[in-house]
Protein backbone atom coordinates (compact mmCIF):
# COMPACT_ATOMS: atom_id res chain seq x y z
CA UNK A 1 0.00 0.00 0.00
CA UNK A 2 1.15 3.50 -0.71
CA UNK A 3 -0.23 7.01 -0.46
CA UNK A 4 -1.45 7.03 -4.02
CA UNK A 5 -3.49 3.89 -3.52
CA UNK A 6 -5.10 5.37 -0.43
CA UNK A 7 -5.83 8.64 -2.25
CA UNK A 8 -7.46 6.73 -5.10
CA UNK A 9 -9.73 4.92 -2.67
CA UNK A 10 -10.71 8.17 -0.95
CA UNK A 11 -11.50 10.13 -4.14
CA UNK A 12 -13.29 7.16 -5.63
CA UNK A 13 -15.50 6.56 -2.60
CA UNK A 14 -16.34 10.20 -1.86
CA UNK A 15 -16.98 11.39 -5.41
CA UNK A 16 -16.80 8.90 -8.25
CA UNK A 17 -18.53 5.91 -6.67
CA UNK A 18 -20.54 7.95 -4.19
CA UNK A 19 -22.58 5.46 -2.19
CA UNK A 20 -25.93 7.17 -2.60
CA UNK A 21 -25.69 8.84 -5.97
CA UNK A 22 -23.92 6.21 -7.98
CA UNK A 23 -24.14 2.92 -6.11
CA UNK A 24 -27.62 3.32 -4.57
CA UNK A 25 -26.68 2.17 -1.10
CA UNK A 26 -28.38 3.71 1.92
CA UNK A 27 -31.34 5.37 0.28
CA UNK A 28 -33.65 5.16 3.29
CA UNK A 29 -31.87 7.74 5.44
CA UNK A 30 -31.25 9.72 2.27
CA UNK A 31 -35.01 10.15 1.81
CA UNK A 32 -36.05 9.93 5.45
CA UNK A 33 -33.59 12.22 7.26
CA UNK A 34 -32.86 14.77 4.55
CA UNK A 35 -35.65 17.25 5.30
CA UNK A 36 -33.45 19.53 7.45
CA UNK A 37 -29.74 20.17 7.61
CA UNK A 38 -29.08 19.57 11.32
CA UNK A 39 -30.46 16.03 11.66
CA UNK A 40 -28.91 15.17 8.30
CA UNK A 41 -25.49 16.15 9.64
CA UNK A 42 -25.99 14.14 12.85
CA UNK A 43 -27.11 11.12 10.86
CA UNK A 44 -24.01 11.55 8.70
CA UNK A 45 -21.70 11.49 11.73
CA UNK A 46 -23.43 8.38 13.06
CA UNK A 47 -23.05 6.62 9.70
CA UNK A 48 -19.35 7.51 9.36
CA UNK A 49 -18.73 6.24 12.89
CA UNK A 50 -20.61 2.96 12.50
CA UNK A 51 -19.29 2.24 9.01
CA UNK A 52 -15.65 2.74 9.97
CA UNK A 53 -15.86 0.59 13.08
CA UNK A 54 -17.95 -2.10 11.35
CA UNK A 55 -15.39 -2.35 8.58
CA UNK A 56 -12.65 -2.71 11.18
CA UNK A 57 -14.44 -5.48 13.09
CA UNK A 58 -15.69 -7.41 10.07
CA UNK A 59 -12.20 -7.35 8.54
CA UNK A 60 -10.85 -8.97 11.71
CA UNK A 61 -13.69 -11.49 11.78
CA UNK A 62 -13.14 -12.41 8.15
CA UNK A 63 -9.36 -12.60 8.32
CA UNK A 64 -8.96 -14.37 11.66
CA UNK A 65 -12.13 -16.46 12.02
CA UNK A 66 -13.75 -17.18 8.66
CA UNK A 67 -10.64 -17.71 6.52
CA UNK A 68 -8.69 -20.04 8.87
CA UNK A 69 -11.77 -22.26 9.26
CA UNK A 70 -12.70 -22.08 5.55
CA UNK A 71 -16.07 -20.55 6.35
CA UNK A 72 -16.02 -17.79 3.72
CA UNK A 73 -19.54 -18.70 2.66
CA UNK A 74 -20.82 -17.57 6.07
CA UNK A 75 -19.74 -14.02 5.25
CA UNK A 76 -23.23 -12.53 4.90
CA UNK A 77 -24.68 -14.11 8.04
CA UNK A 78 -21.72 -13.35 10.26
CA UNK A 79 -21.33 -9.76 9.04
CA UNK A 80 -24.96 -8.80 9.57
CA UNK A 81 -24.93 -10.33 13.05
CA UNK A 82 -21.67 -8.63 13.99
CA UNK A 83 -22.98 -5.29 12.76
CA UNK A 84 -26.33 -5.64 14.54
CA UNK A 85 -24.72 -6.68 17.82
CA UNK A 86 -22.09 -3.99 17.56
CA UNK A 87 -24.58 -1.18 16.90
CA UNK A 88 -26.64 -2.35 19.87
CA UNK A 89 -23.49 -2.26 22.01
CA UNK A 90 -22.56 1.27 20.92
CA UNK A 91 -26.07 2.42 21.69
CA UNK A 92 -25.90 1.02 25.22
CA UNK A 93 -22.40 2.38 25.70
CA UNK A 94 -23.09 5.97 24.70
CA UNK A 95 -26.40 6.02 26.55
CA UNK A 96 -24.44 5.33 29.75
CA UNK A 97 -21.40 7.48 29.12
CA UNK A 98 -22.54 10.49 27.15
CA UNK A 99 -26.19 11.58 27.29
CA UNK A 100 -25.66 14.59 24.96
CA UNK A 101 -24.09 12.38 22.33
CA UNK A 102 -26.90 9.89 22.83
CA UNK A 103 -29.48 12.59 22.25
CA UNK A 104 -27.71 13.57 19.04
CA UNK A 105 -27.04 10.11 17.59
CA UNK A 106 -29.22 7.74 19.63
CA UNK A 107 -32.35 7.69 17.53
CA UNK A 108 -30.37 7.09 14.34
CA UNK A 109 -28.37 4.13 15.58
CA UNK A 110 -31.10 1.45 15.37
CA UNK A 111 -31.91 2.69 11.85
CA UNK A 112 -28.32 2.18 10.80
CA UNK A 113 -28.35 -1.57 11.50
CA UNK A 114 -30.56 -2.21 8.52
CA UNK A 115 -28.85 0.39 6.37
CA UNK A 116 -27.50 -1.38 3.35
CA UNK A 117 -24.58 1.05 3.12
CA UNK A 118 -22.99 -0.48 6.23
CA UNK A 119 -23.31 -4.11 5.14
CA UNK A 120 -22.49 -2.99 1.61
CA UNK A 121 -19.14 -1.46 2.52
CA UNK A 122 -18.06 -4.52 4.48
CA UNK A 123 -18.93 -6.83 1.57
CA UNK A 124 -17.15 -4.47 -0.84
CA UNK A 125 -14.05 -4.50 1.38
CA UNK A 126 -13.94 -8.28 1.27
CA UNK A 127 -14.43 -8.28 -2.51
CA UNK A 128 -11.82 -5.60 -3.12
CA UNK A 129 -9.08 -6.34 -0.63
CA UNK A 130 -9.00 -10.12 -0.49
CA UNK A 131 -7.82 -12.15 -3.46
CA UNK A 132 -8.76 -15.83 -3.19
CA UNK A 133 -8.97 -15.60 0.61
CA UNK A 134 -5.60 -13.88 0.92
CA UNK A 135 -5.39 -10.34 2.21
CA UNK A 136 -3.71 -8.00 -0.29
CA UNK A 137 -0.94 -5.67 0.89
CA UNK A 138 -2.30 -3.02 3.25
CA UNK A 139 -5.70 -4.68 3.16
CA UNK A 140 -6.66 -3.69 6.70
CA UNK A 141 -5.78 0.00 6.39
CA UNK A 142 -7.37 0.25 2.93
CA UNK A 143 -10.59 -1.34 4.23
CA UNK A 144 -10.88 1.17 7.05
CA UNK A 145 -10.05 4.06 4.70
CA UNK A 146 -12.62 2.82 2.18
CA UNK A 147 -15.32 2.60 4.85
CA UNK A 148 -14.50 6.02 6.29
CA UNK A 149 -14.51 7.76 2.92
CA UNK A 150 -17.70 5.97 1.86
CA UNK A 151 -19.25 7.42 5.04
CA UNK A 152 -17.94 10.88 4.15
CA UNK A 153 -19.39 10.59 0.65
CA UNK A 154 -22.71 9.50 2.14
CA UNK A 155 -22.73 12.49 4.50
CA UNK A 156 -21.84 14.86 1.66
CA UNK A 157 -24.77 13.67 -0.47
CA UNK A 158 -27.12 13.77 2.53
CA UNK A 159 -26.06 17.30 3.45
CA UNK A 160 -26.43 18.62 -0.11
CA UNK A 161 -29.83 17.00 -0.40
CA UNK A 162 -31.07 18.44 2.90
CA UNK A 163 -29.94 21.92 1.83
CA UNK A 164 -31.92 21.62 -1.39
CA UNK A 165 -34.98 20.21 0.32
CA UNK A 166 -35.08 23.07 2.83
CA UNK A 167 -35.38 25.45 -0.11
CA UNK A 168 -37.85 23.17 -1.86
CA UNK A 169 -40.48 23.93 0.79
CA UNK A 170 -40.92 27.31 -0.90
CA UNK A 171 -41.23 25.88 -4.41
CA UNK A 172 -44.54 25.15 -6.10
CA UNK A 173 -44.36 21.43 -6.87
CA UNK A 174 -47.32 19.63 -8.52
CA UNK A 175 -49.46 17.87 -5.91
CA UNK A 176 -48.71 14.29 -7.06
CA UNK A 177 -44.96 14.94 -7.18
CA UNK A 178 -44.66 16.33 -3.65
CA UNK A 179 -42.39 14.45 -1.27
CA UNK A 180 -40.67 11.34 -2.56
CA UNK A 181 -41.07 11.73 -6.36
CA UNK A 182 -39.54 15.20 -6.47
CA UNK A 183 -36.79 14.08 -4.08
CA UNK A 184 -35.87 11.38 -6.59
CA UNK A 185 -35.79 13.82 -9.47
CA UNK A 186 -33.50 16.16 -7.51
CA UNK A 187 -31.30 13.20 -6.60
CA UNK A 188 -31.15 12.34 -10.28
CA UNK A 189 -29.85 15.83 -11.13
CA UNK A 190 -27.28 15.61 -8.30
CA UNK A 191 -26.21 12.22 -9.56
CA UNK A 192 -25.76 13.72 -13.01
CA UNK A 193 -23.46 16.35 -11.51
CA UNK A 194 -21.47 13.71 -9.62
CA UNK A 195 -21.00 11.75 -12.84
CA UNK A 196 -18.69 14.54 -13.89
CA UNK A 197 -16.15 13.20 -11.37
CA UNK A 198 -15.89 9.92 -13.24
CA UNK A 199 -13.53 11.70 -15.64
CA UNK A 200 -10.82 11.61 -12.95
CA UNK A 201 -7.92 9.41 -13.92
CA UNK A 202 -4.93 8.38 -11.85
Amino acid sequence: MNIQQAATVIISMVFINNFILSKFLGLCPFLGVSKETKPAMQMGYAVIFVMTLSALITWLVYRFILIPFHLEYLRTISFILVIAAFVQLIEMFIRKTSPPLYRALGIYLPLITTNCAVLGVTVLNVNDFFVKSNAVAGSFVLSVIQAFSAGVGFTLALLLMSGIRERLDLADVPESFKGIPVAFIIASLMSLAFMGFSGFRF
Binding site: L21, S22, K23, F24, L25, G26, L27, C28, L31, G32, Y73, L74, R75, T76, I77, I80, L81, A84, T114, N115, C116, L119, G120, V123, L124, N127, P174, E175, S176, F177, G179, I180, P181, V182, A183, F184, I185, A187, S188, L189, S191, L192, M195
Partner: protein, 208 residues
Protein backbone atom coordinates in the same frame (compact mmCIF):
# COMPACT_ATOMS: atom_id res chain seq x y z
CA UNK B 1 -60.84 -19.83 2.31
CA UNK B 2 -59.56 -19.64 -1.26
CA UNK B 3 -60.87 -16.11 -1.48
CA UNK B 4 -58.91 -14.99 1.59
CA UNK B 5 -55.70 -16.53 0.23
CA UNK B 6 -56.27 -14.88 -3.14
CA UNK B 7 -56.66 -11.54 -1.37
CA UNK B 8 -53.32 -12.02 0.41
CA UNK B 9 -51.73 -12.76 -2.95
CA UNK B 10 -53.33 -9.87 -4.80
CA UNK B 11 -52.57 -7.11 -2.31
CA UNK B 12 -48.81 -7.48 -2.88
CA UNK B 13 -49.28 -6.79 -6.55
CA UNK B 14 -51.76 -3.92 -6.32
CA UNK B 15 -52.49 -1.81 -3.25
CA UNK B 16 -49.48 -2.79 -1.14
CA UNK B 17 -47.04 -3.15 -4.01
CA UNK B 18 -43.62 -2.97 -2.32
CA UNK B 19 -42.14 -0.52 -4.82
CA UNK B 20 -44.99 1.74 -5.92
CA UNK B 21 -47.30 1.35 -2.93
CA UNK B 22 -45.09 1.11 0.12
CA UNK B 23 -41.82 2.41 -1.40
CA UNK B 24 -39.65 -0.31 0.13
CA UNK B 25 -36.56 -2.03 -1.20
CA UNK B 26 -35.37 0.93 -3.20
CA UNK B 27 -31.63 0.28 -3.30
CA UNK B 28 -31.80 -2.94 -5.34
CA UNK B 29 -34.72 -1.52 -7.35
CA UNK B 30 -32.57 1.32 -8.61
CA UNK B 31 -29.32 -0.54 -8.90
CA UNK B 32 -30.28 -3.65 -10.84
CA UNK B 33 -33.05 -2.31 -13.09
CA UNK B 34 -30.64 -1.63 -15.96
CA UNK B 35 -31.96 -4.52 -18.07
CA UNK B 36 -35.13 -6.58 -17.82
CA UNK B 37 -33.14 -9.80 -17.44
CA UNK B 38 -31.31 -8.44 -14.39
CA UNK B 39 -34.60 -7.21 -12.96
CA UNK B 40 -36.26 -10.62 -13.29
CA UNK B 41 -33.20 -12.33 -11.81
CA UNK B 42 -33.23 -10.01 -8.80
CA UNK B 43 -36.99 -10.40 -8.44
CA UNK B 44 -36.71 -14.20 -8.50
CA UNK B 45 -33.91 -14.18 -5.91
CA UNK B 46 -35.88 -11.88 -3.61
CA UNK B 47 -39.06 -13.95 -4.07
CA UNK B 48 -37.23 -17.13 -3.10
CA UNK B 49 -35.79 -15.52 0.05
CA UNK B 50 -39.17 -14.01 0.89
CA UNK B 51 -40.93 -17.36 0.48
CA UNK B 52 -38.36 -19.26 2.52
CA UNK B 53 -38.18 -16.74 5.33
CA UNK B 54 -41.98 -16.27 5.49
CA UNK B 55 -42.58 -20.04 5.77
CA UNK B 56 -39.85 -20.55 8.33
CA UNK B 57 -40.70 -17.54 10.47
CA UNK B 58 -44.37 -18.46 10.42
CA UNK B 59 -43.43 -21.94 11.66
CA UNK B 60 -41.30 -20.68 14.53
CA UNK B 61 -43.49 -17.70 15.44
CA UNK B 62 -44.76 -19.25 18.68
CA UNK B 63 -41.34 -20.45 19.88
CA UNK B 64 -39.32 -17.27 19.44
CA UNK B 65 -39.41 -14.92 22.46
CA UNK B 66 -40.75 -11.45 21.70
CA UNK B 67 -37.59 -9.57 22.75
CA UNK B 68 -35.13 -11.33 20.50
CA UNK B 69 -37.37 -11.88 17.50
CA UNK B 70 -35.57 -9.43 15.21
CA UNK B 71 -32.12 -11.06 15.52
CA UNK B 72 -33.80 -14.44 14.95
CA UNK B 73 -35.50 -13.16 11.81
CA UNK B 74 -32.20 -11.75 10.56
CA UNK B 75 -30.49 -15.13 10.98
CA UNK B 76 -33.29 -16.92 9.11
CA UNK B 77 -33.24 -14.37 6.28
CA UNK B 78 -29.44 -14.40 6.05
CA UNK B 79 -29.48 -18.20 5.76
CA UNK B 80 -31.80 -18.12 2.77
CA UNK B 81 -29.79 -15.29 1.21
CA UNK B 82 -26.61 -17.37 1.54
CA UNK B 83 -28.37 -20.25 -0.22
CA UNK B 84 -29.36 -17.95 -3.09
CA UNK B 85 -25.85 -16.51 -3.22
CA UNK B 86 -24.20 -19.92 -3.57
CA UNK B 87 -26.79 -21.21 -6.06
CA UNK B 88 -26.40 -18.07 -8.22
CA UNK B 89 -22.61 -18.40 -8.23
CA UNK B 90 -22.88 -22.05 -9.30
CA UNK B 91 -25.64 -21.93 -11.90
CA UNK B 92 -25.94 -18.32 -13.13
CA UNK B 93 -22.41 -16.83 -13.01
CA UNK B 94 -23.26 -14.08 -15.52
CA UNK B 95 -26.29 -12.92 -13.58
CA UNK B 96 -24.28 -13.15 -10.36
CA UNK B 97 -21.67 -10.76 -11.74
CA UNK B 98 -24.34 -8.36 -13.01
CA UNK B 99 -26.16 -8.19 -9.67
CA UNK B 100 -22.91 -8.06 -7.69
CA UNK B 101 -23.16 -7.08 -4.04
CA UNK B 102 -26.92 -6.65 -4.26
CA UNK B 103 -27.35 -10.40 -3.79
CA UNK B 104 -25.84 -10.46 -0.27
CA UNK B 105 -27.63 -7.17 0.39
CA UNK B 106 -31.03 -8.88 0.10
CA UNK B 107 -30.48 -9.49 3.84
CA UNK B 108 -31.09 -5.84 4.62
CA UNK B 109 -33.88 -5.44 2.06
CA UNK B 110 -36.74 -4.16 4.18
CA UNK B 111 -39.45 -5.80 2.08
CA UNK B 112 -38.34 -9.12 3.52
CA UNK B 113 -37.85 -7.94 7.10
CA UNK B 114 -41.08 -5.98 6.79
CA UNK B 115 -43.12 -9.02 5.73
CA UNK B 116 -41.52 -11.17 8.44
CA UNK B 117 -42.41 -8.62 11.11
CA UNK B 118 -45.78 -7.48 9.81
CA UNK B 119 -47.19 -10.72 8.44
CA UNK B 120 -45.35 -14.02 8.91
CA UNK B 121 -44.82 -13.55 12.66
CA UNK B 122 -48.57 -13.16 13.16
CA UNK B 123 -50.12 -15.59 10.65
CA UNK B 124 -50.29 -19.28 9.84
CA UNK B 125 -48.09 -20.91 7.23
CA UNK B 126 -50.52 -21.01 4.29
CA UNK B 127 -51.46 -17.30 4.27
CA UNK B 128 -47.76 -16.47 4.75
CA UNK B 129 -46.89 -18.42 1.61
CA UNK B 130 -49.45 -16.50 -0.42
CA UNK B 131 -48.35 -13.21 1.10
CA UNK B 132 -44.73 -13.95 0.16
CA UNK B 133 -45.66 -14.96 -3.38
CA UNK B 134 -47.80 -11.85 -3.88
CA UNK B 135 -45.11 -9.52 -2.55
CA UNK B 136 -42.44 -11.30 -4.59
CA UNK B 137 -44.42 -11.12 -7.81
CA UNK B 138 -45.32 -7.48 -7.12
CA UNK B 139 -41.66 -6.62 -6.55
CA UNK B 140 -40.58 -8.48 -9.70
CA UNK B 141 -43.28 -6.78 -11.79
CA UNK B 142 -42.39 -3.31 -10.51
CA UNK B 143 -38.69 -3.97 -11.14
CA UNK B 144 -39.47 -5.20 -14.66
CA UNK B 145 -41.56 -2.12 -15.45
CA UNK B 146 -38.76 0.22 -14.35
CA UNK B 147 -36.18 -1.92 -16.14
CA UNK B 148 -38.11 -2.01 -19.42
CA UNK B 149 -38.47 1.79 -19.43
CA UNK B 150 -34.75 2.15 -18.78
CA UNK B 151 -33.67 -0.53 -21.24
CA UNK B 152 -35.86 0.75 -24.08
CA UNK B 153 -34.88 4.41 -23.63
CA UNK B 154 -31.26 3.67 -22.76
CA UNK B 155 -30.35 1.07 -25.36
CA UNK B 156 -33.33 0.94 -27.75
CA UNK B 157 -33.68 -2.76 -27.03
CA UNK B 158 -35.76 -5.10 -24.88
CA UNK B 159 -34.42 -8.42 -23.55
CA UNK B 160 -31.28 -7.53 -25.52
CA UNK B 161 -33.17 -7.48 -28.86
CA UNK B 162 -33.28 -4.24 -30.85
CA UNK B 163 -36.75 -2.78 -30.66
CA UNK B 164 -36.71 0.74 -32.03
CA UNK B 165 -35.26 1.61 -35.40
CA UNK B 166 -33.71 5.01 -36.14
CA UNK B 167 -33.53 5.71 -32.43
CA UNK B 168 -30.49 7.25 -30.84
CA UNK B 169 -30.30 5.59 -27.38
CA UNK B 170 -30.12 7.97 -24.44
CA UNK B 171 -27.33 6.28 -22.51
CA UNK B 172 -28.16 8.28 -19.39
CA UNK B 173 -31.13 6.01 -18.66
CA UNK B 174 -28.85 3.03 -18.13
CA UNK B 175 -26.63 5.04 -15.78
CA UNK B 176 -27.38 6.13 -12.23
CA UNK B 177 -29.23 9.43 -12.91
CA UNK B 178 -31.66 7.68 -15.25
CA UNK B 179 -32.63 5.22 -12.53
CA UNK B 180 -33.52 7.98 -10.08
CA UNK B 181 -35.36 9.98 -12.73
CA UNK B 182 -37.39 7.00 -13.97
CA UNK B 183 -38.43 5.94 -10.46
CA UNK B 184 -39.28 9.53 -9.46
CA UNK B 185 -41.52 10.04 -12.46
CA UNK B 186 -43.17 6.60 -12.19
CA UNK B 187 -44.02 7.14 -8.50
CA UNK B 188 -45.35 10.59 -9.40
CA UNK B 189 -47.57 9.01 -12.06
CA UNK B 190 -48.87 6.39 -9.62
CA UNK B 191 -49.68 9.20 -7.16
CA UNK B 192 -51.47 11.11 -9.89
CA UNK B 193 -53.47 8.03 -10.90
CA UNK B 194 -54.47 7.36 -7.29
CA UNK B 195 -55.50 10.99 -6.79
CA UNK B 196 -57.63 10.84 -9.96
CA UNK B 197 -59.46 7.81 -8.66
CA UNK B 198 -59.94 9.62 -5.35
CA UNK B 199 -58.01 6.98 -3.51
CA UNK B 200 -56.55 8.28 -0.30
CA UNK B 201 -53.27 6.42 -0.69
CA UNK B 202 -50.41 8.76 -0.01
CA UNK B 203 -46.99 7.37 -0.71
CA UNK B 204 -44.81 7.85 2.33
CA UNK B 205 -42.08 5.53 3.60
CA UNK B 206 -38.95 5.13 1.57
CA UNK B 207 -36.48 2.51 2.64
CA UNK B 208 -33.74 0.25 1.36
Amino acid sequence: MMKALWREFKKGITVENPTFGLVLGLCPTLAVSTTVVNAIGMGAAATFVLLGSNIFISLIRNIVPQEIRLPCFIVVIATFVTMVELAMKAYFPVLDRALGIFIPLIVVNCIIMGRAEAFASKNKVLPSIFDALGMGVGFTLALSIIASVREILGTGALFGRPLLKNYEPALIFVLAPGALLTLGILIGCVNFYNAKRKKAIKIRGGCC
